[in-house]
Structure formats: C-alpha cells, structure tokens
C-alpha cells in the first residue's frame, strides 16, 4: 500500500465521518444515535489503521517523517480520542468536533499531495511530536467549549443586560443552541451550568497536562532539556496554572457561582495569549518554538 491508494482510503473514511457528523444533528433516539455514530466512526478508524499499516510495511519505516505522514496520524489520533471521549462522556459536540478536525487534515492531505516528500525540520522528527500536537488541539477545543459555557452562565447571571450585553448574547445564541442540542443537557441555573463546565474543564485540563508533559519529553529529546523557560513553554505553564486556580477555587466556596464563571471566562484569555499572542510578545525574539517564521 502506498500514497496512490490514499484517495480511496481518504474518501471512504471521509464519507463515514461526514455521515457520523450529520447524524449527530438528527432527532432520532439517543441510544440509536450513539450506536450509529460509533459504528460509522470506528469503521473510518479501521480504514485508516489498515492504510497506515500498509504504508508502514511499504516504506519499511514508521510513516512519521513528512508533513503528509504527520497529518495522517493527526487524523487517526483525533478519531481515536474522539471515540474514547465520546463513549466516556457522551458529548455529541465532542465527536462532531474531532470528526470535523480529522476531516480537515484528510482534505489538506488530498489537496496538497506534493508535500508528501518534503522533510520535516529535524526537531519535529520525534515520536512525541504528533501526540503533543493532538492533545493540545483537543485541550484548546475543549477548554474553548468550557469558555462558551461560562459566557452562557454569565449572560444568565445578569438578567438586566444593557444593549451591549444583549448584542453579545444574541451573537452567541446560535452556538449555545447547537451545544444544547448536542449536549442533551438543559442548564437551568448556574450550579448546573458550572457542573457541566467542571466536567469539560477536567477533560480539557487532562489533555493540557498531557500536552505540556509530552512537550517536555519531546524537548528533552530534541533540545536536550525538558524545560528552558522558553516564552511558549512559559505561556503554556501559565495557562495550566490559571485553570488550576479555577479547579481549586471550585472545590471551595460552592456558592460563589458568578466569581467562578468570571474566572473561567478570563482563563480562556490566557489560553488565547498562549496560543496566538506569544509571537508578538517582546520576549519571543529568541523562542525556539515559533516555527511560523521559518515557513
């Protein structure tokens, strides 16, 4: 099996993933929906695993060297983690998200076949690289959802909104609506909303912890040191600390719901700075992690 077989595997798996994705919005019985979504997504996963195994045998080395090969693993791990998380938590939006992200990587591979032969920069050639990126994508996505939940809670907390607040709530309404459909939960009061936010934050925080530790193990391999106080690392740590504050404050003072919602929504600002802002910080001039300049 080699890359010429890829379109076949990619299109059939994509079809299954799209079906699963569409299915999630259909108003059929919950149990049936879960079973069907699982069946479709797991079949797509199996197709990919067969393709990768074939490719591995054909290349006589783990297919981890080129960008195209890396994207292949992104798709596989996203689908895999999607299935695991979905079956543990039954969040439809999560499966929808992982399937969608997997599709994005599949289609990038289909659209840019010429990248198959380009070699990765040496530092990225590590087994920790793919899992590191995947868990980061997932944790940012999940924490993003927890942010939406916190915004929803905040809008609820201030019934007498002025015009500005009303505009914000109208903008977000479609997103809340979709999440409500996909999460199957009716959030009546702040306590319920925060409970849901807690679960989501814990999932996201687990991924974040994995991301930062995999990153450290990778850095040890690539740069010989697991922690160098590089701006990117520092901001990742900061994000972790901010969510730690939320987690610990939540275990006390159960009734300060507004405070908790505010902390949760502000935490996301730190996350965004870690993600986008680092390259613009004055400290970034000697960061080893700003690949964008080299590309």
């Amino acid at each position: 099996m080699n890359w010429t077989n890829f379109p076949l595997a990619a299109y059939s798996a994509s079809a299954l993933l799209i079906l699963a994705f569409g299915l999630l919005f259909f108003p059929i019985k919950r149990k049936l929906k879960v079973t069907l979504a699982n069946l479709l997504t797991i079949t797509a996963l199996i197709i990919f695993i067969i393709f990768i195994t074939g490719l591995w045998i054909h290349l006589e080395r783990p297919p981890l060297r080129t960008k195209g090969e890396t994207r292949l693993w992104y798709s596989v791990f996203l689908i895999l983690l999607g299935i695991i998380t979905f079956n543990r938590w039954k969040y439809f939006w999560f499966l929808a998200f992982t399937n969608l992200m997997a599709l994005v990587f599949i289609f990038v591979n289909l659209a840019h076949p010429e990248t198959y032969n380009k070699t990765l920069m040496p530092a990225l050639q590590s087994y920790w690289f793919v899992p590191h990126v995947i868990v980061y994508i997932l944790s940012y996505a999940v924490l993003g959802v927890s942010w939406l939940v916190s915004i929803k809670g905040l809008i609820k907390s201030y019934p007498n909104l002025n015009v500005f607040g009303k505009i914000i709530s109208i903008i977000f309404y479609p997103i809340f609506f979709i999440i409500d459909i996909l999460s199957d939960e009716k959030n009546e009061d702040n306590h319920k909303i925060l409970k849901m936010a807690d679960d989501i934050v814990y999932i996201g925080f687990a991924f974040l912890t994995l991301g930062i530790t995999f990153g450290a193990l990778w850095a040890k391999e690539a740069w010989g040191n697991y922690w160098t106080w590089d701006p990117k690392e520092t901001w990742a740590l900061l994000t972790l600390l901010v969510y730690l504050i939320y987690i610990h404050i939540r275990t006390h003072h159960k009734n300060r719901t507004k405070l908790h919602l505010w902390i949760l929504s502000i935490s996301f600002v730190f996350l965004l700075s870690a993600w986008f802002g680092v390259n613009y910080m004055p400290s970034a001039k000697n960061s080893v992690h700003t690949y964008s300049q080299q590309e």
Binding site: T85, R88, W89, P113, E114, Y116, N117, T119, Y158, N162, F164, G165, K195, D198, D199, V201, Y202, I203, F205, A206, F207, T209, L210, T213, A216, L217, K220, G224, N225, Y226, W227, W229, P231, T234, W235, L237, L238, L241, V242, L244, I245, H248, I249, R250, T251, H252, K254, R256, K258, L259, W262, I263, I266, V278, M281, P282, S283, K285, N286
Partner: protein, 456 residues
C-alpha cells in the same frame, strides 16, 4: 452594567466580595488574626515579591542551586520537614493554612504572575551578567535564576507539599488519582530545580586522526569540560541518498517538481517528465571525478572529494533529443554543472541528502579498559554517566567530513523528574476519566441523604 464591572474586578483580584452577614463579620477580621484566608495569602505574596527584589538587589547575581550532595539532602530534608510538620502540628494556624485552598490559590497566583513576567520581558541569555543594570540586579532580566522566581517557587512548592500530605494522610483509595497529580507535580518541581545544578551538557568536535582526549572544548562557548574518560574518533561514516534532479526557472530561481509530483531521485535509466520536457539518465556515478577540465566526461572513483555525476539526455515533446551531457551538483572542491534547456529553464542536480551518519568511537575508561561503539542519530550511548549523541559533522565537506560533532550530557536527576512526569500523566488519565470531582461528591452526598431519609 455596574454590577458586571464590579464582579469582573472582584474576580480579577480574587479578594472576596462578601455577601452575607456572617462573611461580613469575617471581613472585619484583622489581618493574620483568626483563620487565615486569601487576604493573608496576597499579603504574603506581596512581601515575597518585595523580599525577592531586595535580596536580588543586594546580591546582584543569579542564584544557582547547590550541587550534589547538598541538593539531595536539602530536597529530602525539606520533604521530611513538611511531612513531620503536618503530622504533629497540623492544628497550627500556619500549617493549617498552608495546606488549604486559599494558600494553594494565592501561591499559584504568585507563581503565575512571576511566570507571566518571564513570558513577557525579554531575558538575557543564560550565563550573561549585566553590570550596573538596575533591572538585571533585581532579577527582571534573568527571572529563571532570580530570587523573585525562587521565592514564589518556594511558596508554591510548600503549599503543594502540604496539600500532597493532606491528601495522602489519612489515605483513602478514592483520593489516589488526586494524590498522583499532586505528588507527581511536587516531584517534578522539586527535582527539576534541585537537579538543575547537576546537569551538564556540551557539544564538542572529535577530529579525524586526533589523539584520545578527555578535555573537550565546547563548540559554542569555548568553555572546557573534563570527561571521566578519553575519547577518540576511529572512523566517521556517512551514507547518502542519490541526489535529486529539479527544473529551475531562471527568472525566479523557483525549483519545479516533475509532473508526477514525486521528487525525481536519480537512478540509472530512469526518466521523468518536467513541463514540456523529458529527462533520461544514461549513466550515473555516485562518486565520480571529472576526467577533463571541461567537465565533458566523468569516471567512477572513490577518491577524496569525488562527487555524484550523471550523463543525461533531454527530449522535447516530439521525443527528439534537444540536449545531452554530464551534470553534477558540485561540492567543496568542484563547481556544479547544470543542463541548460532554453533561455528560461535549466535542469540542476541537488546536493545529496544524508541518509545516515555515524561515528565509530573508542573510549578509554579509567583502569585501562577500553570500549568501542558507534554513535548514530537517535542511538546514543551512555559511558560513565555521560550520554553521548551523534549531532553533526562538517556539512560542507559532506561525505569527506574531517570531524564529527558529538553532544555529551549528564543529568543524574532525570529518572526522578521522569517518575514525577509519569505520576502526573497517570493523574491526568484519572482526571479525564472521573471528570468533575466536586459534582461527583455532591451526587454521592445526595444519594447518601436520600438513603438516610428512606432508612428513617
């Protein structure tokens, strides 16, 4: 609107806004009287910042943790101190507070603030000391080795240590997952800092035909390191892929890929289409010498400075030959030779890429023992506690490189840090699986209450 802004501010400065009367009573409580809360935490954080700046200003130098064995005994005694204090003095106000959420939160905030400074302010390179620079003196320019970070670290570590003991004692199986996270993080932070002073790393060159040596000069900083053994390079080996051929657009210098979109790697008798042309390899020598000064002919050889060369034919759309001749990618001794197609395009051979390179090395250990081994990328070798990596070679000379660049590193605390990392990872899996602890607890309590009501 006002209340939104107020709540936002309250959140930002976690200083509690009190709602009911009981809590209003607490608000009137004098600092450091009664049960310590967030306020005390922020006051302590402020004092630590001040102290860090003042001590930094007085000592003026980056701090280094003591080396082995002092770092080991400090780490162990500190951990034991926390355990003993918690065991016997846990009713003391300070101990109680240090193992509480307010201390955890405020120490995390302080640590986050110093980290944020580190993430925003540009830092000087490690080892550089700026004289008479106020910002450097107080630590803002070398935060990772400053008293400021050191003290916030200490507060954070202490609070985390007490939290760990509190969660572990008395032990409940239900808390195992939480215990793993806290213990893992404690180990990482303690061993990471304490072990940093024992970690050494240097890059050095082993020359062909040089005598064995145990004094190596760092490739980048020229600092000398003494290894506990002597090293000698027996042979440096490199194997290369066959070179690639590309079509180059003269105006833009763009490299064009063949029609198939796969790189065209030279093999004898292969052919490949580029735009309107087809190029065919008639002869290919992986290592060749020009046999005349005009580069008309090449002969196969394995002599020093030989290079890849190919005899090619270029066909147009009608399958008739329009060009033929030898091409080569050139090296440090010979210049390159391309095949011109027309005024706009030429074919060029790219430098061959290294497939694998390795150094065959002989180590002379203490006590007359010797050991021979080969170092490859991604296959390091540990000798007397030092891990040796193949890093690079004289890339300009490629296959004929006259030296090998080796990295040697030593980090005796690594296994400790890694065990912490794996505890933390295990904790993360637990957190993922269990989800929200607080809601779990509430559900259980609700269930228990319901049961109790039924029983009554």
């Amino acid at each position: 609107m006002f209340s939104i802004i107020k709540d936002f501010l309250v959140c930002f400065f976690i200083f509690a806004k009190k709602r009911n009367v009981v809590e209003k009573e607490k608000l009137k409580r004098k600092l450091f009287h009664g049960t310590w809360q967030y306020k005390e935490g922020f006051v302590i954080s402020g004092l630590l910042i001040l102290l860090g700046i003042i001590v930094g200003f007085i000592t003026k130098n980056p701090i280094n943790f003591p080396e082995f064995p002092l770092n080991l005994s400090i780490s162990i005694s500190y951990s034991l101190l926390i355990i003993v204090l918690y065991k016997f003095e846990r009713e003391q106000k300070i101990i109680k507070w240090l193992s509480s959420i307010p201390a955890a939160v405020t120490s995390t905030v302080l640590f986050a603030v110093t980290s944020a400074l580190l993430g925003i302010i540009p830092q000087t390179d490690p080892g550089v000391i700026l004289k008479n620079n106020f910002w450097f003196d107080i630590g803002f320019k070398h935060l990772s080795t400053s008293w400021l970070l050191g003290l916030s670290y200490l507060f954070f570590l202490t609070s985390l240590g007490f939290a760990t003991v509190k969660i572990a004692y008395p032990f409940k199986f239900k808390r195992l997952g939480t215990l793993l996270s806290h213990l893992g993080l404690y180990i990482i932070i303690l061993a990471g800092v304490a072990g940093s002073s024992d970690a050494k790393r240097t890059y050095f060159v082993l020359n062909n035909d040089a005598a064995p040596t145990n004094i190596v000069k760092d490739f980048f900083s020229d600092k000398q390191y003494k290894l506990p053994f002597k090293l000698q390079l027996v042979k440096f080996d490199i194997s290369e892929y066959n070179p690639k051929i590309v079509l180059v657009e003269k105006k833009t210098n763009n490299l064009l890929m063949p029609e198939s979109n796969q790189h065209f790697i030279i093999h004898k008798n292969d052919e490949e289409k580029f735009l309107d042309w087809k190029i065919k390899i008639k002869t290919f020598y992986k290592y060749a010498y020009p046999s005349d000064s005009l580069y008309q002919e090449f002969t196969s050889t394995n002599a020093f400075a030989s290079l890849p060369a190919a005899e090619v034919e270029v066909y147009d759309k009608n399958d008739s030959i329009i060009k033929s001749g030898w091409m080569t990618c050139g090296n440090f001794a010979w210049s390159r030779k391309n095949i011109d197609v027309n005024n706009n395009y030429y074919f060029a051979m790219l430098q061959p890429e290294a497939k694998e390179f390795s150094s065959h090395v002989k180590a002379f250990l203490p006590g007359e023992n010797t050991e021979e081994f080969s170092l490859k990328v991604n296959s390091p070798k540990v000798v007397e506690g030092w891990k040796l990596y193949q890093t690079s070679y004289n890339e300009q000379m490629g296959k004929w490189s006259n030296y090998s660049l080796i990295e040697a590193g030593k980090d005796p605390w690594l296994p400790v840090v890694y065990s912490g990392i794996f505890l933390l990872i295990a904790g993360a899996f637990y957190i993922f699986w269990i989800g929200s602890f607080s809601s779990k607890k509430e559900e259980e309590e609700e269930k228990n209450n319901n049961l109790n009501e039924k029983n009554q």
